[in-house]
């Protein structure tokens, strides 16, 4: 994998573009530490040796003090230096200052009181080990999230003068023919002109089953070509290709902060000054009033200072959200910001569009009711009769039949507008159409009882039965609704522009709570607004649509969820969450990820605050020492980071 990545980076990608350099740093993370971290490790080791040597040499008084200075400065010179520089810049309460103060303070109590010199060195050492581990863990998690988004193509193959040339995808123009070899990533959106292959769309949709494509099919950038060579005509410039859009969206997701993130930033602003003031008070006031020794109280105050850094919280909360967003994107669920991931957990009503969202959005023959003939005969008659029509219903009949009509079998075709068609097939007069047509012809027919549009067929005045054409419900739709209810969604509503019977039929089949039919696009916005009024103050309303006609509704709802595969660009733009594979069942999964992420955030906040609070109380009473304080600072940060990493994993079924 490493070799592979390096090779790809060496393929002449120009300019210091972010994801490429990110990949390079990924390699560093995966196999070793960065140069800075290695240097730190060396310093830790040297300082450790010096510390042990200092402890073993039996010297007393000021000489003993001098013995510990080499170990201290080896490990802590940069902290001291930064503390001084930052104070000059007016940044008083930062980590460096606190650590410098705490360790210098420990030295002083050692020098004047009954403290120990090794403690000062060891606290600094422990702090640096923690910092190193923290930096390693953050980098590691950043890497695993980035690798999920490793969908950026590095080059495109263009044929020039008979030879293949690798060019930057950004330099390819619309209409150019690019060549995608097996094993390569499709660099730009386009249409296959020659060749057939299987495409692995896992990076975009989380779907492991490859998709077959052949000449005439559209291909999306970011998919990996598995088997055959493809010649693809580019239809969109790189900046507008799917892959650029997705990367842009995910990279920007961290700028939309969740409430929990904002809370932590605000909390951090007050927490540190308060604890530092408390430390000052603790050092000065009790000895002044009680007249006791200064040493013990100063030491307690120093512990306060070490605990006062809010880093564990400040790192782990955004990291959890980033992990949640990364984990979701691995499932083909793109979340545009931490705030939406947070809101999703509070969703109480889920409003769906019908066509293209809960249904496939394509008409198919869904059922047969032959009358005195076989199913095949019925289908053949209907398909032949409709063979000259280009109506969606006719197309679905022809598709279901799957054969080409032979020349001369069908003659005298006639469209009867609003009713159906009439044609002469093999010498028989065949009529195919709706109830109205049958009534007009005086043929007794069986009324259709199923959801969809019925096409009745009659030959030479004899009724042959009917076929049902319906927009099929997506295979996972019913399961999706059930899963959402299990997740605590109180109300599921469907909005559709379709006929009442069709809409209600689909709603019954899927077990939706309410359905509103025959709506114009404008009516949908009104309905959603009415539903927004009904929900409780804390609950959220999510709208799921494919963006065809419903982009305004997507932006009006608290959370807009769009079907990104089938949906339009406008939908991806207007939505807050995009489902790349158009499966409604992914919504329940997104909710699970959202709940889990919020759970981890809560755990981290509670854990960090409890440990810090406990150490503060214990140290005020003189029951805790510097070691525990350093653990409460860096140890908690590291544990919180490790916990945040769990957000990346998929929730268990």
């Amino acid at each position: 994998m490493q070799k592979n990545m390096e090779e790809r980076n060496d393929t002449g990608h120009k300019g210091p573009f972010f994801p490429v350099s990110l990949c390079k740093s990924c390699i560093a993370w995966r196999f070793s530490m960065t140069g800075k971290q290695k240097k730190m490790l060396l310093r830790i080791l040297i300082s450790g040796v010096l510390l042990i040597a200092a402890v073993l040499i039996p010297l007393e008084g000021p000489w003993r003090f001098l013995l510990f200075l080499p170990a201290y400065f080896t490990i802590g010179w940069d902290v001291l230096w930064r503390a001084v520089v930052n104070i000059c810049h007016g940044q008083v309460f930062d980590e460096n200052f606190l650590m410098a103060l705490a360790t210098v303070g420990a030295f002083c109590t050692g020098f004047f009181g009954d403290g120990e010199y090794p403690e000062a060195v060891f606290v600094m050492l422990f702090y640096q080990v923690g910092e190193l581990f923290q930096s390693y863990a953050v980098g590691k998690s950043r890497k695993s999230i980035a690798s999920l988004m490793d969908i950026r193509p590095d080059y495109a193959n263009i044929e020039r003068g008979g030879a293949l040339e690798q060019v930057d995808p950004e330099d390819v123009a619309v209409g150019d023919i690019i060549i995608v070899k097996p094993g390569e990533r499709v660099p730009l959106d386009g249409i296959v002109r020659e060749g057939s292959s299987a495409l692995n769309t896992a990076a975009l949709t989380g779907e492991s089953l490859p998709r077959e494509v052949e000449a005439g099919d559209a291909v999306t950038s970011g998919c990996v070509n598995v088997s055959g060579l493809l010649r693809v005509e580019v239809t969109k410039p790189f900046e507008e290709s799917t892959v650029s859009k997705i990367l842009d969206l995910v990279e920007n997701s961290s700028s939309k902060k969740a409430k929990a993130e904002n809370f932590i930033t605000r909390f951090a602003r007050y927490y540190t000054p308060i604890v530092v003031c408390a430390a000052a008070a603790l050092a000065v006031l009790p000895p002044l009033f009680t007249g006791g020794g200064w040493g013990g109280w100063v030491q307690r105050a120093l512990v306060f200072l070490v605990v006062s850094c809010p880093c564990a919280l400040v790192i782990s909360v955004p990291l959890s959200f980033f992990g949640g967003i990364g984990g979701a994107s691995r499932q083909g669920i793109l979340v545009k910001g931490g705030n939406y991931l947070e809101a999703l957990a509070k969703t109480e009503s889920m409003v769906f569009d019908k066509t293209g969202t809960l249904t496939q959005g394509v008409f198919r023959v869904a059922g047969f009711a032959p009358h005195g003939c076989t199913q095949e005969e019925l289908l053949e008659l209907a398909a032949l009769a409709e063979s000259y029509s280009d109506h969606p219903i006719s197309r679905s009949l022809k598709e279901a039949w799957g054969k080409e009509p032979e020349q001369g079998r069908v003659t005298e075709t006639q469209e009867l507008s609003g009713r159906g068609v009439q044609a002469v097939i093999d010498g028989r007069t065949v009529c195919a159409g709706n109830d109205k047509l049958m009534e007009e012809l005086g043929i007794s027919y069986t009324p259709c009882t199923r959801v969809g549009t019925a096409v009745h067929v009659a030959a030479d005045g004899a009724y042959m039965g009917y076929l049902v054409i319906a927009d099929e419900v997506k295979p996972d739709a019913a399961e999706a609704i059930k899963a959402l209810k299990a997740q605590g969604i109180r109300q599921t509503v469907m909005l559709t522009g379709d006929r009442k019977e069709v809409g209600e039929g689909v709603a019954r089949e899927l077990g939706l709570d309410a359905v509103y039919t025959q709506l114009l696009p404008g009516d949908k916005v009104e309905k959603v607004e009415a539903l927004l009024q009904q929900k409780t103050a804390k609950g959220k309303l999510a709208f799921v649509g494919d963006g065809i006609n419903d982009a305004p509704v997507l932006s009006r709802a608290d959370i807009g969820i769009a079907m990104g595969g089938l949906g339009s660009d406008a939908a991806i733009e207007a939505a807050d969450i995009v489902l790349m594979d158009d499966k409604p069942s992914k919504i329940a999964q997104a909710m699970k990820i959202s709940r889990r992420t919020l759970g981890i955030v809560r755990q981290n906040i509670i854990f960090a605050l409890t440990v810090k609070g406990l150490v503060l109380i214990l140290s005020a009473m003189g029951l805790s020492n510097m070691w525990e304080a350093v653990f409460a600072d860096v140890g908690v940060a590291v544990l919180a980071i490790l916990n945040a990493m769990r957000a990346l994993n998929l929730p268990k079924e």
Binding site: V85, H89, R142
Partner: protein
Amino acid sequence: MKKKFKMVDLDCANCAAKMENAIRKIDGVQDATVSFMSQRLTVEADDSRFEEILDQIVKVCKKVEPDCQIVR
């Protein structure tokens, strides 16, 4: 104009938040985010004075974390 910059050696999340606040206070900056996770800075600022504003941004970031560099 909105521009993105990569940040090298941005080591502490709290510092990132401090930088963000400081950058937002610079005159001419409409919006700014410092993302610790993706190690990048996004600034939206007046077109005409962008370079000058960027110099100021570099300066305030140096104040918060001297090691951190903005790749221009």
